[in-house]
């Protein structure tokens, strides 16, 4: 990589330099893939009068975030879910909010990534970051709301997003995290009609 960059720098003209850059992007597609969080799919189902959510997320850490995690910085990933009542002539009303938190931590002595579910307190450990993130990416059967709390006449929808909690980072990192794209890891709101 380094030598390749040097080669690029050795090219004298500007056009060649740009061409080289395009070549580099083609050769290393992994570099072009931006880090970020995405909500891939959301599904709801009803079980025993309780709505459950299944969601499939994609969590790609930036290099900076990976480096911070491996240096022992605890990172919290939050999954925000909101249930909204749809209204024609007014803003939608939020009837329920649910936040699911995951604390990621690297344990140096055991060389393991620990995931702590902040809601249930369950802890599991993984040898690689990929395995760790995969474990979080699949959320199955998350209880959302009791169907009795919803009006049968109204229409509801689900909003969901996943993001890295910058406020939980150590204070010195926050100012930079707020302005750096390396730390702006958040998905857009994903909306899904609540299936009856």
């Amino acid at each position: 990589m380094h030598s390749f960059a040097n080669q690029i720098n050795n090219l004298s003209t500007r056009h060649h330099r740009i061409g080289g850059l395009i070549l580099a992007v083609l050769l290393f597609p992994g570099l072009a893939q931006a880090a970020g969080f995405t909500v891939r799919s959301v599904e709801t189902r009803m079980q025993d009068e309780v709505y459950l959510v299944d969601t499939n997320l994609q969590l790609d850490f930036s290099e900076e975030a990976q480096k911070a995690l491996q240096s022992g910085i605890p990172i919290i990933i939050l999954l925000d879910i909101e249930v909204e009542k749809l209204r024609s002539w007014w803003w939608n009303k939020t009837v329920a909010t649910l936040q699911q938190g995951y604390l990621l931590l690297y344990h140096a002595l055991t060389e393991k990534y620990i995931v702590n579910n902040l809601n249930s307190g369950a802890q599991s450990d993984y040898t690689s970051l990929g395995a760790t993130l995969s474990a979080i990416e699949k959320v199955i059967g998350l209880p959302l709301i009791d169907s009795g709390l919803l009006d049968k006449e109204e229409r509801y929808r689900l909003k969901l997003r996943v993001h890295l909690d910058i406020e939980s980072l150590p204070a010195p990192m926050r100012p930079l995290a707020y302005v750096s794209s390396d730390w702006q890891l958040a998905s857009d709101w994903y909306t899904w009609p609540l299936q009856r």
Partner: protein, 744 residues
């Protein structure tokens, strides 16, 4: 309302206090962040936001101040220059030391944070981790052997009994938890030391891979936050080829002492790594906080510089504006007292000064008003005086005059104000006589004098009585002289007329009575003795009595003339066309055309006059007769009669001019020409012109005589016309033409 509230807020001292509080909070935050305090960790972002907002607010405030100062500077507003200087001075004074401190603080910060990190400490911590792993590794090998032994024992147990066997083995080995899984991860049997734990530890992701490769999986796993566990998974060999493979996972607790040590090593290593990672963000964060503090300090200082410059300048600006107001004559300006310091004293003194000036000017104004009132009063008095008044100042320049003076002198005196007496005489030769006399008395310093003077002008002889007084030299009066004069011509004339009237009456009365007996006696004498006397005596008697009778007759005529003069009948005024009357009168003399040539030069548009026709006729006869008598010896006699409309000094009158070609009027007679018995003529009563003058004066006119340069005399009379504006506008001014005709 919101804007005024904001203005009050930004102009008061509240923002200063608020900003200083923010500054202190920011400083506290810096120290809190350095100590990594939990309290500030939570509010870090909020405080950061508040500080950035404060800085933005300060920027806006300062920008506003700079803009307004710039505008004031451009428009050269009062005090803007001094304010600018003060602000710049304050800024330099505050920014310089803070910037120096900032620079060195940055240096110190960089080096200070770098000094936390030492490569030897890092290596030692890494080594400690390795040592811990190695020491646990030995234990793990032992436990692996134990677990493999257990696995061999458990392989033999049938499925129904495996749970019991598992529990036995666990108790035997002292494992914390033992679980048998299928390769799919399904739990076959489980035994735990902790009875409350319902769900056994799941198989880790790496376990499957190791087992599949025929290797046991040994791992250190964090059970909870502080507790470590050794996790060992081995394959349970199937008893029959058809039976599926099983996995045995055993969890062994690490001894308490080792656990504590390992945790200590892990915590230290973790903290050190975290800190090493945070080195750059920490630096940034500290620099950011320091910069924020610096910016807040500087901006607050700048703002304070503006604020206090304005506050300091306010009384000075007030003073400058106050001084300007006083210079412009506004003495009512009072400045607000800024405080009890020297500026306050200055402003107080200024207020006192303007107060005094205001009072002084007010007094001066009142004095001036009084003086003006007195002047006005004096002017009114002067205007209503029947005497002419002239005052002269010490330099003998004309100072005050009144309307009567103008009337008597027949001059507009406004032009002569400020001129000396001699300058006045130079401007108008008519004033020469008066000027000489006044000058003489003034230069002689006569305190009181009176003198009579006779002037000759267009309107004839004028006798003026002058009285002069030197004014006293007092505080209010600068001295000078006052001359009061009266036109006593008419008075003297009236006196003289009255005297003549009395003489005439007496003459008529005293002389007329004896005349008839004298005449009768003379006739009787003649009648009785003429026939008795001889021829010689008779002739003497005849001549003597004839003379007596004739002279008595003459005396009678004279007495009659006196009587006429003494008591003329009352005027019967009516509109009269003067031209027609003149033409009629001329016709009466047309019979002796050979001796007399009467030329007429009459102005066509002459307005009517209001006069008694009989008197006017008598007047014309007298004038013509007078001319005839003057030139009796000479032949041919030429008389020129002309009329003219004259508009002069705002009055309109008809002018009648009678010019003869006689010997003229002797210089010494010119003054008394119109008095009775003043005559140079060989015949006549000597009352002709006196009667003419009397008639003219009865009609409100004036008469005077002029001696012509070559020969002949001219008698000019002015008679007021009837007020008839239409005639006045139509009239023309054929003065030169008529005059030349008349003279020719």
């Amino acid at each position: 309302m919101a804007i005024t509230a904001l203005k009050r807020f930004t102009s008061g001292s509240t923002p200063v206090v608020l900003l200083i509080a923010l500054l202190l909070a920011s400083l506290y935050l810096l120290s809190g962040s350095t100590q990594n305090s939990v309290l500030f960790d939570r509010f870090y972002s909020l405080l950061l936001g508040i500080n950035i907002l404060a800085i933005l607010l300060l920027f806006v405030l300062i920008g506003k101040n700079i803009y307004s100062l710039f505008r004031q500077y451009r428009s050269r507003a009062t005090g803007s220059r001094l304010t600018t200087r003060l602000v710049i001075m304050f800024i330099i004074l505050s920014v310089t030391p803070v910037s120096v401190v900032y620079y060195f603080s940055l240096q110190f910060l960089q080096r200070g944070i770098d000094s936390w990190f030492d490569i030897r400490v890092e290596k030692a911590l890494g080594d400690a981790i390795e040592l811990s792993q190695a020491s646990l590794g030995i234990r793990m090998q032992e436990l692996l052997r134990e677990t493999q032994l257990m696995a061999e024992k458990l392989q033999a147990s049938p499925d129904e009994l495996v749970a019991l066997a598992l529990n036995d083995q666990r108790s035997l080995t002292g494992a914390a938890e033992m679980t048998i899984f299928t390769t799919a991860g399904k739990i076959i049997a489980s035994s735990s030391k902790d009875m409350e734990k319902l769900i056994p530890q799941q198989l880790a992701d790496t376990t499957y891979m190791s087992i599949n490769q025929g290797q046991p999986d040994i791992a250190l796993a964090p059970l909870s936050e502080k507790a470590l566990a050794i996790r060992i998974a081995v394959e349970l060999q199937a008893q029959s080829p058809l039976a599926e493979k099983r996995i045995l996972q055993a969890l062994f607790e690490v001894p308490e002492r080792i656990n504590i040590l390992a945790d200590s090593v892990q915590t230290a290593f973790g903290d050190y790594n975290e800190l090493a990672y945070l080195r750059i963000p920490l630096k940034y964060s500290f620099i950011l906080t320091l910069s924020l503090v610096l910016l807040l300090s500087i901006l607050t200082a700048i703002w304070a510089a503006f604020y206090y410059s304005h506050r300091m300048m306010a009384p000075i600006t007030d003073l400058v504006e106050g001084t300007r107001a006083v210079a412009d004559g506004d003495y009512d300006k009072r400045l607000p007292l800024p405080g009890r310091d020297e500026l306050g004293f200055l402003v107080h003194s200024f207020n006192e000064m303007t107060d005094k000036i205001a009072r002084a000017t007010n007094t001066a104004r009142i004095n001036r008003l009084e003086a003006e009132q007195q002047n006005a009063y004096l002017e009114v008095v002067l205007a209503h005086l029947n005497s002419g008044v002239l005052t002269f100042d010490e330099q003998l320049c004309l100072h005050t005059t009144n309307a009567t003076a103008e009337q008597i002198l027949n001059l507009k005196l406004q032009a002569y104000h400020g001129k000396t007496i001699q300058q006045m005489a130079n401007l108008n030769p008519r004033l020469q006589q008066i000027s000489d006399m006044i000058d003489q008395h003034l230069t002689n310093n006569d305190h009181e004098w009176r003198e009579e003077i006779t002037l000759f002008g267009e309107t004839g002889r004028q006798i003026i009585m002058l009285r002069g007084t030197t004014l006293p030299h007092t505080v209010t009066l600068q001295g000078g002289h006052v001359v009061v004069f009266d036109d006593i011509t008419n008075l003297l004339q009236a006196q003289r007329n009255a005297a003549w009237g009395e003489v005439a009456r007496r003459l008529a009365h005293e002389i007329k009575n004896p005349l008839t007996p004298i005449q009768l006696s003379a006739e009787r004498l003649r009648h009785k003795y003429l026939q008795q006397m001889d021829a010689e005596d008779a002739e003497l008697l005849d001549r003597s009595t004839h003379t007596i009778v004739q002279q008595v007759e003459t005396l009678k005529q004279m007495v009659k003339a006196f009587s006429d003069y003494a008591r003329m009948p009352k005027l019967q005024l009516e509109p009269l066309d003067l031209n027609r009357l003149i033409a009629e009168t001329r016709d009466l003399y047309s019979h002796d055309e050979e001796q007399v040539i009467i030329q007429l030069s009459l102005e066509e548009n002459l307005p009517l006059i209001e006069a008694d026709t009989g008197r006017m006729r008598q007047l014309l006869h007298n004038l013509i007769k007078n001319a005839l008598e003057v030139v009796a010896k000479k032949a041919p006699l030429q008389i020129s009669l002309s009329t003219r409309f004259v508009e002069q000094h705002g009055s309109q009158y008809a002018e009648v001019r009678v010019i003869d070609n006689g010997p003229g009027i002797p210089e010494d007679m010119l003054g008394q020409l119109f008095e009775p018995y003043v005559t140079s003529k060989p015949k006549g009563t000597g009352l002709g012109l006196a009667i003419v003058k009397k008639i003219v004066e009865e009609h409100g006119g004036i008469i005077h005589a002029e001696s012509l340069p070559n020969s002949g005399a001219s008698i000019i009379l002015h008679l007021p016309v009837l007020n008839n504006p239409t005639v006045r506008t139509e009239q023309t001014e054929p003065e030169t033409g008529t005059k030349s005709d008349a003279v020719a």
